[in-house]
């Protein structure tokens, strides 16, 4: 059943995720290339000095891309379900509805996590030769909250899109925006490191919120 749901979701969203993942990985590659070129043109000495004095990761061009990909992923996956009223049919399948929607979300989260891991791996591999592990670690630690924001953005958007009541949907979107803001409070390298587990836990727990929207949907609440 799980594979069948994954396959259904893949058919529905494959072009979005292929293009969005390509865009995200393109930005990541550009950021890595940018660091390499800055090193070549301005000199590695100046590049190292910038990291050590400014404590800035220099890859902020990537910052909001995972979030945009995550939000777009949830919209592409669940907006058609709501618009065409397919979700009602899906929930009538002989299976637990939480399992059904959870599997759909697992598919989206899985892609987001996979793309994030590939992105971090690209950054690590391209910077490994030119920068010391302390700086690479700082850059990766600075970017982890952005990728977590991508997953959290996906889950919050799912919660908003599946909500059938417009007023609630607006309030949920506002709350979601504030939650997502906390992933972008500073660009300082390593600043999130001591509390990254709180943001990871928040992201995981955010999946629970969809249950509320699903409950409203099941109970037929509408404007």
């Amino acid at each position: 059943m799980l594979y069948a749901i994954f396959y259904k979701e893949w058919i529905k969203t494959r072009w979005y995720y292929i293009i969005a993942s390509a865009v995200l990985l393109g930005f990541v590659c550009y950021a890595a290339l940018y660091l390499n070129r800055v090193g070549d043109l301005a000199g590695m000495k100046n590049l190292w000095d910038y990291f050590l004095i400014k404590n800035d990761s220099l890859i902020s061009i990537v910052k909001y891309i995972p979030l945009i990909v995550g939000i777009g992923g949830a919209v592409s996956q669940f907006a058609p379900e709501m618009y065409r009223k397919c979700l009602k049919l899906t929930l009538h399948l002989p299976c637990n509805e939480y399992f059904l929607v959870g599997s759909m979300m697992l598919y989206g989260c899985g892609i987001m996590v996979a793309v994030s891991i590939v992105s971090l791996t690209i950054l690590f591999l391209t910077l490994n030769g030119i920068l010391p592990p302390e700086i690479i670690s700082g850059i990766l630690q600075a970017s982890i909250p952005w990728f977590l924001a991508g997953v959290c953005g996906y889950l919050l958007t799912t919660w908003v899109v599946l909500q059938p009541v417009t007023k609630k949907r607006i309030l949920q979107a506002i709350l979601g925006a504030f939650v997502l803001r906390t992933f972008f409070l500073t660009d300082t390298m390593q600043a999130y490191t001591p509390s990254i587990w709180i943001f990871a836990a928040t992201t995981v727990l955010t999946a629970l919120l969809t249950i509320i929207s699903l409950n409203d949907f099941k109970e037929g609440r509408q404007d």
Binding site: D49, L52, P145, F178, M189, P194, I211
Partner: protein
């Protein structure tokens, strides 16, 4: 499941409200208040204060008696030496000491210590400048170093490779100075704009302070003698033009000490222990005294200490009017950390 989800939702709602509502309230109701500018005047043996009252700048002594701007300048001839010189009012001697514009300028010093400097995130790579390059201006080095459990390791910036020869030379110098690795504290004042280089202050595993410099490519490592029982924690290298101090440090009880030059003696600065997590320190000094401002959310205190023996001369404090509403915060000392402020 729905119940759990709703509990989590309300936790999120509460967290966002506790974070956003106080910050918006404080933003909308904040008063325009400015910190008074306070310096100790050796001539008046008192603090002289410049502050804004009803939109006008006024100067006064610590007892509240008003003074004219010209008198204010005259009471702080060190700080306003350029202004006094431009008005031909700079005295030849101050409290029996012959002075000149250049001398006063060179002896003036200022230094700020913020909690994020001590506790904020930092990449554990450091840069050791050449302190005797023969050039007037200092230059950033071509390498960085890291302190390991057993030694010091220099890494070339150009190709990210370890400079084995230099690493070995410095590690041997540390061993010769009986430095016990690993280093517990590594402090420097990295800037090309400073006038000279005092290198690094390091605290070794046995809580002893060492000064490390590089002179003509060679390591110079010197142990700083500390009075018995002092356990140094946070060090700050000073490179003031007057060259009377090598650095400052706080001990484990947060008392401040100065390492003087040329004797490299440690002298206790006679001010109360600070709360380094919250206190912001500003030091402004001259030939006679240092005015040390300690600022936190509740109070601003100024301590005047003698610039030679660092004995306390006078204190002055004002309470901070904290009418702000407390709320959830996410940033403390440049770290993202949940807090209540």
């Amino acid at each position: 499941m729905v119940k759990f989800a709703k509990i989590y939702l309300w936790i999120l709602v509460a967290a966002v409200c506790l974070w956003q509502l106080p910050s918006w309230w404080n933003f909308l109701t904040a008063d325009a208040s400015s910190t008074p500018f306070v310096l100790y005047s050796a001539l008046a043996d008192d603090f002289v204060i410049k502050k804004t009252v009803d939109g006008k700048s006024v100067c006064e002594l610590s007892d509240g008696s008003r003074i004219a701007r010209k008198e204010y300048d005259s009471l702080l001839p060190d700080y306003f030496c350029r202004q006094l010189a431009s008005e031909n009012r700079l005295p030849d001697t101050i409290l029996g000491r012959a002075v000149s514009l250049k001398y006063l300028n060179d002896e003036n010093l200022s230094m700020r210590i913020k909690p994020e400097q001590i506790f904020g995130p930092q990449i554990p790579l450091y840069q050791l400048m050449e302190s005797q390059s023969g050039r007037v201006d200092l230059e950033m080095p071509d390498d960085v170093f890291r302190m390991t459990e057993t030694g010091i390791e220099f890494v070339r910036k150009i190709d990210n490779t370890i400079d084995e020869e230099k690493s070995q030379m410095f590690t041997q110098a540390f061993d010769s100075a009986y430095f016990n690795f690993p280093a517990l504290e590594i402090a420097s004042n990295l800037s090309e704009k400073k006038k000279y280089d005092n290198g690094f202050l390091l605290v070794d595993a046995r809580n002893r302070i060492f000064n490390m410099k590089m002179a003509k490519g060679k390591p110079v490592i010197e142990k700083i003698e500390l009075p018995h029982g002092i356990v140094p924690r946070h060090c700050f290298v000073t490179e003031f033009a007057g060259r009377h101090t090598l650095g400052l440090f706080f001990d484990k009880d947060n008392y401040l000490y100065a390492i003087t030059l040329p004797a490299k003696e440690t002298k206790k600065v006679d001010i109360p222990p600070l709360n380094l997590e919250d206190d912001e320190v500003l030091i402004m000094g001259n030939i006679f005294s240092w005015t040390i401002r300690v600022k936190n959310d509740k109070q601003i205190a100024w301590y005047a200490v003698d610039s030679q023996d660092f004995k306390l001369k006078k204190t002055y404090a004002v309470d901070q009017e904290d009418s702000s509403v407390k709320g959830l915060t996410f940033i403390k000392n440049d770290w993202v950390r949940l807090g209540w402020r």
